[in-house]
Symmetry: C2
Subunit: 191 residues, 2 copies
Amino acid sequence: MKHSIPVELKTSYRLLNHGPTIMVSSAHHGRRNLMSAAWSMPLDFQPPKIAVVIDKTTLTRELVEGSGEFVINLPTVAQAGLAVAVGHGSGRDQDKFERYGIETLPASIVGAPMIAGCAAWLECKVIAEPHLQSTYDLFIAEVVAAWSDPDCYSNGRWLNTQPEQRTVHYIAGGAFFATGERIDVDLPADA
Amino acid sequence: MKHSIPVELKTSYRLLNHGPTIMVSSAHHGRRNLMSAAWSMPLDFQPPKIAVVIDKTTLTRELVEGSGEFVINLPTVAQAGLAVAVGHGSGRDQDKFERYGIETLPASIVGAPMIAGCAAWLECKVIAEPHLQSTYDLFIAEVVAAWSDPDCYSNGRWLNTQPEQRTVHYIAGGAFFATGERIDVDLPADA
């Protein structure tokens, strides 16, 4: 299994800034789960915070509310099939890790596992906002540790050089866009 | 100027689902502004809602809080330079529309203008959440109308065929990823 390298917290927003689809892993009281989520975004730089929508019908919701923790995993092009698979069906009916033969790595701070083969990982602790959670299924969390596959992201930069290692962006109905080529624009002189 | 076509509200989440960078246009009491934002996401399907971060130091924040309305504009690869330009400097110091020669189209419901040449547009009305707005700079809004350039998106699908018309995904420091190629995964049989 490939190793992961730490990402400094102050630039960890760059892991989500380009809008990739994620998988949320969670664990509580001996149970664990993994679900895909297209609806997440950075919310603040320092300390880094993120926002993510977790539907109230899901097992993930129960485990995240129980533990107050989760991991955001960034699947690659090679994992697009996995991201669709774990986006359907409930972890209440099956252990998705066993069903899909998913390998995990231990996280450094939270109890939820990190999914092997991903491009990057954000360990998150929920900031309790009961009104938001119940009204909008919206969770706010602080990023307490971040990691990347050094072939995907290192020294604060996405490398995006290996086609199968690029991140993915879900549309609907099993269709994604892969992350495309880099475009560089000169910053304004007064920036 | 090219025409825009209506996008049905129930599938309008697909305009933001893949995580593109947006530009927020706003208007109130004769003033108007345009700023870029990488931090937005869909929040609900029906009625469609979105979440977006609007910093409290910005003129956009003042106009959005004053009017309760804004438009989310999706810039294309051809507009990446514009997206960076309007992401720097304040509309308090200059009218960005004049400075950058930005053409606009009238929106159908809200007073904020739609930016010509974009891939798609979402007309939004703020759902007041004062705690969220003040604590996290986070705005929740209902999408009340949606439009697309038919060369970019039509019949509920992104076309993504013209390289310059693709959406963009901001990283940091003037760098974007363009939206890449489509990947189709078979949905599980029980989906």
